[in-house]
Symmetry: C2
Subunit: 147 residues, 2 copies
Amino acid sequence: MEERYNAYSFLLDRTARRVKQFAQRRFKEMGFNITVDQWLVLKQLYEREQLKQNELAGLVFKDNPTLTRIIDLLCEKGLTERNTHPDDRRCFMVSLTKRGRSKVREMLPSIQEVRLKAWEGLSERDFNQFRRILNKIYENLGDDMQP
Amino acid sequence: MEERYNAYSFLLDRTARRVKQFAQRRFKEMGFNITVDQWLVLKQLYEREQLKQNELAGLVFKDNPTLTRIIDLLCEKGLTERNTHPDDRRCFMVSLTKRGRSKVREMLPSIQEVRLKAWEGLSERDFNQFRRILNKIYENLGDDMQP
DNA sequence: CATAAATAGTTGTCATACTAATTATTAATG
DNA sequence: CATTAATAATTAGTATGACAACTATTTATG
C-alpha cells in the first residue's frame, strides 16, 4: 500500500537528480564551467535585464539564501553584478555583465542540443501529461504556510 | 524551442524538491528526527535485514560517499550498525539495531498517511503514466559510461 | 512622529549530491 | 607467485537545499 508513496517520490527524486547530473556533465564536456543552477539564473537575467534578488529567487524557485550564494559565485566569475537600488537601500538590482551576456549567447545553442536526449521515445502528449502531473503535485503540496 | 528543456528539467527539479520538503516537514511535525533520505535507507534495511553498503547504495540510488555519510549518521543515532563481513574485509554488512527496527515500525503507519496528499486529484492512470515517463527519462539519460 | 511589523538580503549549520583521490583488500594476469 | 586490476569504503572539496537567526532598511500603525 505504502509502496506508491515510496515509488513516486523515489522515482521523482532519482530522475530529477539524473537529469541534472546529465546536463552538468555536458556542461563540463563543453567547458562551460558553471553549474546547471547557475545557468538557470543567468538565463533569467538574460531575458529580463535587471532583477532584484528577490524576484530572481521567485523565478528560479530557489530560496533567498541559496540565491545569495549563487549570485556570489556568479559575481566572482565576473558574470553578474549587484547594483544598489535607487529607492530602496535594502535591495540589489542584479544584472549580467558584458561577459555574462556573451556567456549566455555562447551557451544557448548547445543547451538546445542537450535537452533532446531526455525525451527520446516520448511524445508531445507525454510531455503535456508529464507537465500537468508535475504541476498538480506541486500545487497539492503547496507551501500554504498560513500564519 | 529550448523552452521545453528548461520546462521539463525545471518542473522536475522543483517538484522533486517540494515533495521532499513536504515529507521532511511532516517528519519534523511527527518528531521522527531523521531525514527522508535516512528513512529510505532504514526502510530497505528493514525489508532485507543485512546489506553491504554497496548493495544498499544501489537500492536507494545513492552513490557511495553519500551512503557512507548517511550510515555514519544513522549509526550515531543508534539506528544501524556496521558489522565486518566474514569473507571480505573490505566491506561492511549494515543492519538495523533493535532501536532501528522499532523506529521503522513506529514510522510505518504515518508514512502511509503522508503519501496521499500529493496525489489528490490525480488518477491511477496518471500515476502509471507518470511512472512510465520518469523511468523512460531515467533510462534515456543512463550512465552508460563506457570506458 | 515613534514604535512595531514587514521586507531584502546575509550568515551559519546541517544534510545531500557529485567528483576526484585515497586506503585497504581481493581478484586477475603474466 | 608477483604484480596489476578491480572493488569497498572513506575522505576531501565544492555546490545546493532547507531552516533559523540576524542586520539593515522601509512601511504600517497607534
